[in-house]
């Protein structure tokens, strides 16, 4: 990876903020976009914009080919067996809600068990809480080890014959832990449960193959992987999608409609009611093309190395720093606290040095409670971040600490 060349592709990275060069370390919230993606969207709106699927004219045909082409590319990117297994939503959250309503609403009954973990993002937690409440099912949680991994010692009791669905994040957006989702999905399969993987923090950063993971559903968001906002993806095993009733109703997803009733198209269209975000999907297709050209293996190695370097430098500079999550290989994000300085104040002071980090509960309040802190600071990297940026971040951190001392 030629970092300085690659950075040229991202216009947002070359701006000054409060007079300082921007160091963008808030990638777990959303990534910046390469010019290729921004231009693909502009070009679509400038020349090919039309509603898809039903139009006979040239623009509608171009838009449909581009939209379905992006679907095929994204399917290949995650190793999906067919384009039809990829449903477009507005974000990962909608994808997860769709499964909770459309699959869960039918297959989960009173007394059944839903298994999830205390390290989930709210988007992969509250839909299951609500499903459990609606169906009177039981919500059961993995334990966490002291170093922030899932406790697998009781896996077979945790995921038992009463379990209908296991919802687990691939990579924690707080701890950086990479969870053994293949093993968990296998156990789910053994007891006849389905396994949904929240890939919001994995798909953008590492090679992910749904057939190797052998999961039933995978949800992720385009905006965290160089794509535009407003596009999420739900991958579903073909048999499961075929069984699922739709969840949103309207144009594009119907087969036959009378005043009394309606029948549905097959997946994926059945789950895409209304005009889809064609421009957004095309943008995500361009993002995937961009990422593939760089190589997901390379991106992952780069980020693992960055987070290792980052943690090392932080500990050197501020020995009392608290770093959350496991030692060893972990994703390119670091949640931390500097004793005596609230993460908000850290983020504020760092911002004035041009360094963008995030502070707060990271949509993981239950995990915050387990970690014994109401909030943390988080520095999260992506393919374009450099060690020099980590150095700037750490220097800014030292200044911030001194400011509040």
């Amino acid at each position: 990876m030629n970092l300085s060349r690659l950075r040229e592709d991202f216009p947002a990275l070359h701006q000054r903020v409060h007079g300082k060069l921007l160091v963008y370390l808030d990638n777990a919230a959303t990534s910046q976009k390469p010019k290729a993606v921004i231009d693909a969207i502009s070009r679509y709106y400038a020349y090919d914009n039309a509603n898809v699927h039903r139009g006979i004219h040239a623009l509608a045909e171009r838009a449909t080919v581009a939209y379905e082409g992006a679907r095929a590319r994204i399917a290949r990117f995650i190793g999906a067996p067919a384009p039809e297994t990829v449903v477009f939503t507005k974000n990962a959250s909608e994808a997860i809600n769709m499964v909770a309503y459309a699959w869960g609403g039918v297959h989960v009954r009173e007394g059944d068990v839903i298994v999830t973990t205390p390290m989930e993002h709210h988007s992969n937690l509250i839909p299951w809480q609500q499903l459990a409440r609606r169906t009177r099912a039981t919500l059961r949680y993995f334990g966490l080890t002291p170093d922030g991994r899932l406790d697998l010692s009781n896996l077979d009791q945790l995921i038992d014959e009463r379990t209908r669905i296991v919802a687990v994040t691939h990579v924690s957006n707080v701890l950086g832990t990479v969870n053994p989702v293949r093993r968990i999905a296998q156990r789910a399969r053994e007891v006849g449960a389905v396994c949904l993987v929240d890939g919001a923090q994995s798909v953008p950063h590492m090679p992910v193959n749904v057939q190797e993971l052998d999961c039933d559903f995978l949800a992720f968001s385009g905006h965290k992987m160089c794509g535009p906002m407003g596009v999420g993806v739900l991958y579903g095993r073909p048999e499961l999608l075929a069984q699922m009733e739709p969840f949103l109703f309207g144009g594009e997803m119907i087969s036959k409609v009378t005043l009394e009733e309606a029948t549905w198209k097959d997946a994926p269209h059945r789950f895409e009611a209304g005009t889809p975000n064609v421009g957004g999907v095309i943008g995500l297709g361009a993002a995937v093309e961009y990422l593939e050209a760089i190589g997901m293996e390379n991106i992952w190695r780069h980020e693992v190395e960055l987070s290792r370097y980052c943690i090392e430098r932080m500990r050197e500079a501020i020995p009392e720093v608290i770093i959350y999550g496991p030692e060893g290989e972990r994703a390119g994000l670091v949640c931390f606290n500097v004793p005596g300085v609230h993460p908000h104040d850290l983020a504020q002071v760092l911002d004035r040095d041009g360094v963008a980090i995030r502070a707060g509960h990271h949509c993981a309040q239950p995990l915050m409670r387990l970690l014994g802190t109401p909030a943390t600071a988080r520095a999260s990297t992506y393919l374009y971040n450099t060690k020099e940026e980590i150095d700037i971040f750490v220097s800014a951190l030292i200044r911030a600490k001194e400011f509040f001392a």
Partner: protein, 142 residues
């Protein structure tokens, strides 16, 4: 400028918070939190004869939310309930860059927090204690 936000007085209150703790016999108490960041605050008052006789607060939060609570608690002690409500309105107006609705009620030291108005995301931090106060005063209406 960062100095507009982190004035000396604010940092003093952050490092040495006033009236932090719990009361034995509050007449009213309110717990609030800021969903944006997880900040939490519990405010306890003793309101008697339409006067705020005592104040305590606990909570976790950033320098702005903590110093705001601390400065508020200092200003509040012995204040008539009516006047306290006006103080809330003035403080909120200051945060939103509006004119004081009750110019006769002065903010005093609290004006040190005026710089927060330039940092939209932090306004909620400064207001947390005041929202709690507003709720508490309304609850303590006899």
């Amino acid at each position: 400028m960062l100095e507009d936000l982190y004035r000396e007085l604010i940092m003093d209150h952050y490092r040495h918070p006033q009236n932090r703790g719990r009361l034995e016999n509050p007449t009213v108490q309110v717990e609030l939190h800021n969903p944006l960041c997880g900040d939490e605050l519990e405010l306890q008052l003793i309101v008697k004869d339409d006067t705020v006789e005592d104040v305590r607060w606990t909570g976790q939060g950033c320098s702005i939310s903590q110093s705001s609570a601390s400065m508020m608690s200092q200003a509040l002690k012995g204040m008539a309930r009516d006047r306290a409500l006006k103080l809330v309105a003035n403080f909120q107006a200051m945060m939103h860059g509006e004119d004081f609705p009750y110019p006769e009620v002065e903010l005093g030291d609290l004006e040190a927090l005026s710089g927060v108005a330039k940092f939209p995301v932090r306004i909620k931090c400064a207001l947390l204690a005041w929202e709690a106060l507003s709720k508490a005063l309304n609850q303590s209406e006899s």
